[in-house]
């Protein structure tokens, strides 16, 4: 009975509008976040001008880099922020813009847009000269994806602005916190971000080590599978709940509940077949999408002559993403069966929001905690993954187990409802009727 019901549920899902909307969002999410800009890391060669950058902890460097960014954004009049992990373009009203100008003046001694423009101009000229001096020397393809502005190879050096004389690091931090607040958070100037601004060049050894780890420990695909999970997880932390809620409401909307309730099929079979169908139908498009980065990896591996882990995307999809699909779908099913409303969308939505917001601080990976949507927004940092693996495994197991428990509870509620008990909605309606 379970197998045949499962097949029928899958077919029903494949014919539902909401399912295809979810698939469309997944495709959209994949192409915008990952599909177009995923470049495979190339092996660094010695003797290059740059191997990309890594964060410095030197206050002087942090200050000059951060003020450089502030000068540039202030001059352009628009700011890039990631308030909950998503890209946002911020423009300020007159008053706020004026206050940023004051901050810049106090921190860097730059007065007004005009002076900021002049500083920008000087820097731009210097860059062009640098580039001409180098021309013929370094070819574009020698630039790795770690290089600053890899897509925009005009600039060899980021804009750096020396802090005003006598500015302490404490006062600098206060001013930047204020700027971040004006910009609504998630800007380059908040504490965590500004400490990442101070990028210093990696040495050839640093870059080589990072690359070797990716190839040797991760078989290349491992790193990209994590990156894939990082992006897809953002969507899969919320979308399954919509499928679960619409499925849960469909019987009532079709006035079909009693026809199903009075049949012999055990409640657990009914609920399990629906649940399994949801999971399978959601995992399928994810696996299908993972073929694209896998193909890219294989393509690169062939030219670079390395062997890759062919199953990495499958393993990561099941280990990392499936528990997320399971819990979101199970919570959706449970709350819909319990309340006969779409309340699950609100609950899961709130949880997802908190997860994404909280995850912004852990984008580099390794700090998975109990986050519903663990982050690891880089193909590198295998070490972080390795160190955080035990926690990640616990995290994923917890959610998968909770999902199974919720499914069992849903089956229990279903069995009670078909006997005429636990009719929360029925009670509400009856009260309304008896009053009118």
């Amino acid at each position: 009975m379970l197998g045949q019901l499962f097949a029928k549920e899958c077919k029903q899902t494949a014919k539902s509008l909401i399912y295809w909307l979810i698939v469309l969002i997944l495709i959209f999410g994949f192409t915008t976040q990952l599909g177009n800009n995923m470049e495979i890391a190339k092996e660094p060669k010695p003797g290059r001008a740059s191997y990309g950058y890594q964060a410095s902890h030197d206050p002087e460097i942090i200050m000059s880099h951060t003020l450089g960014k502030l000068t540039e954004e202030y001059f352009r009049g628009n700011y890039t922020t990631y308030p909950i992990g998503f890209y946002k373009n911020v423009t300020l009203d007159k008053e706020d813009d004026h206050r940023i100008g004051e901050i810049l003046k106090e921190a860097a001694g730059i007065t007004g847009k005009e002076e900021a423009g002049r500083v920008m101009e000087d820097w731009y000229t210097a860059q062009t000269e640098l580039k001409e001096a180098e021309s013929g020397g370094t070819e574009a393809e020698d630039m790795g994806p770690n290089d600053v502005n890899a897509g925009d190879m005009m600039y060899r050096e980021p804009l750096k602005i020396e802090p005003a004389a006598g500015l302490t690091y404490e006062r600098f931090a206060e001013l930047m916190d204020e700027a971040d607040k004006i910009l609504g958070g998630g800007s380059e100037y908040g504490k965590d971000d500004r400490e990442m601004n101070a990028e210093v060049p990696k040495t050839y050894e640093d870059a080589k080590k990072e690359y070797n780890t990716l190839i040797e420990k991760d078989g290349l695909t491992g790193g990209y599978a994590r990156l894939f999970c990082d992006y897809m997880g953002i969507f899969l932390g919320i979308l399954p709940v919509f499928l679960a809620v619409t499925r849960g409401m469909r019987d009532r909307r079709a006035v079909m509940q009693e026809l199903i309730y009075t049949r012999r099929c055990p409640s657990l079979t009914v609920v399990a077949s629906r649940y399994l169908a949801m999971i399978v139908m959601l995992v399928l498009p994810v696996l299908a999408l993972s073929v694209f980065p896998l193909a890219k990896c294989m393509n690169y591996a062939r030219t670079a002559g390395i062997t890759v882990d062919m199953l990495a995307f499958v393993k990561y999809t099941f280990g990392w993403l499936m528990p997320m699909i399971m819990i979101a779908a199970a919570l959706g099913m449970f709350l819909t069966e319990l309340t006969d409303t779409a309340a699950a969308v609100l609950v899961q939505g709130a949880w997802w929001f908190v997860a994404i917001f909280g995850g912004v601080q852990t984008l580099r990976g390794g700090m998975y905690g109990w986050n519903l949507v663990p982050r690891h927004n880089t193909e590198f940092n295998w070490q972080g993954y390795h160190d955080g693996f035990a926690q990640l495994a616990l995290n994923r197991t917890l959610y998968a187990a909770a999902a199974l428990l919720l499914t069992l509870l849903t089956a229990y509620i279903y069995s009670q409802k078909r006997k005429g008990r636990l009719q929360i909605r029925g009670k509400i309606l009856a009260n309304r009727k008896s009053k009118s």
Binding site: L5, E258, L259, T262, R264, G420
Partner: protein, 294 residues
């Protein structure tokens, strides 16, 4: 093995409201009619038998299986609710197939039974139609087909004739009579004509109590000698209505031919006539409430 439905001392409550009062009924193979006005408790009683409501007090057993073990009862009961539909985007055949799986029928069984049943309810040419494209009558027939899909010993149909046109109604009754040859069919209705045409045994429910149980013939016999007709003027009709229960009337020019209930001949021009189910039902309802004129 028992082939009857036994209901003993059944009381049913919705919160504090009592919907059924001390019901005792034995229902045997064949058509069983459940008659009563709206709100009498027919649907409630049927839902208890179909295990859709937990019985509050008393005992209900269906062919020897207690409704305390719903999974056993569900195997042998087919139910057609008063209001129902199916997934609108499924075809007639798909909907039947889906419900067939839920009834535990194998693929082979479903392939064999579904076309036969669709034929029986005269939907064989509509099996590829979407459920949302069916008319009210077609939907009812599909409802019957799904309810007997697993060949249940008991078929429960709640007000199936409501909303059907007269021709459909007659055909529907005949279909139910055929089905009742092999099993118990419980039919509820608030339309007396349905019962008259199809049922031998009936129970009349009023405000949650059974006020009559027996055959239709006996019900009519109770009213024998108490039904009169008289041709009277319209003014006299008002007076008559105050004292007697008028079960029907027919306007004849300035006069009215009234049919009414009386314990004995009320005036000379009144003519005694043969009682019908309608008269008997009206008699019963008013006798129960102590409103009968004398």
């Amino acid at each position: 093995m028992s082939t009857t439905i036994e209901i003993r001392n059944l009381n049913q409550y919705y919160g504090r409201k009592q919907a059924l009062r001390d019901i005792n009924l034995t229902i045997e193979t064949g058509m069983f009619g459940l008659l009563g006005r709206n709100g009498a408790g027919k649907t409630t009683l049927m839902k208890v038998i179909a295990t859709l409501l937990p019985r509050s007090e008393g005992e209900v057993s269906v062919c020897g299986r207690s409704t305390l073990r719903p999974q056993e009862v569900r195997k042998i009961v087919g139910y057609l609710p008063q209001d129902f539909s199916m997934y609108p985007n499924m075809t007639v055949y798909e909907a039947m197939d889906y419900l067939g799986v839920l009834s535990g029928l194998s693929r082979a069984k479903r392939r064999q039974r579904i076309p036969r049943l669709l034929q029986r309810v005269n939907l064989q040419d509509d099996k590829r139609k979407k459920v949302k494209a069916l008319s009210g009558g077609m939907k009812r027939r599909l409802g019957i087909a799904q309810a007997i899909l697993h060949n249940p010993k008991v078929l429960i149909v709640d007000e199936p004739t409501a909303g059907l046109d007269p021709e459909e109604r007659v055909r529907f009754r005949n279909l139910l009579c055929e089905i009742a040859e092999e099993r118990i069919v419980i039919l509820s209705t608030h339309i007396v004509g349905d019962i008259e045409a199809t049922c031998e045994d009936i129970a009349v429910l009023d405000e949650g109590s059974v006020i009559y149980q027996g055959t239709v013939t006996d019900l009519i016999a109770m009213t024998e000698g108490k039904v009169y007709t008289a041709e009277i003027s319209k003014r006299e009709l008002e007076a008559l209505k105050k004292d007697y229960i008028v079960t029907s009337m027919l306007t004849l020019g300035n006069n009215v031919m009234a049919r009414f209930l009386a314990e004995e001949r009320p005036f000379a021009s009144a003519k005694l006539c043969e009682a019908g189910v309608e008269d008997a039902y009206m008699y019963l309802m008013h006798a129960e409430r102590g409103e009968l004129g004398c």
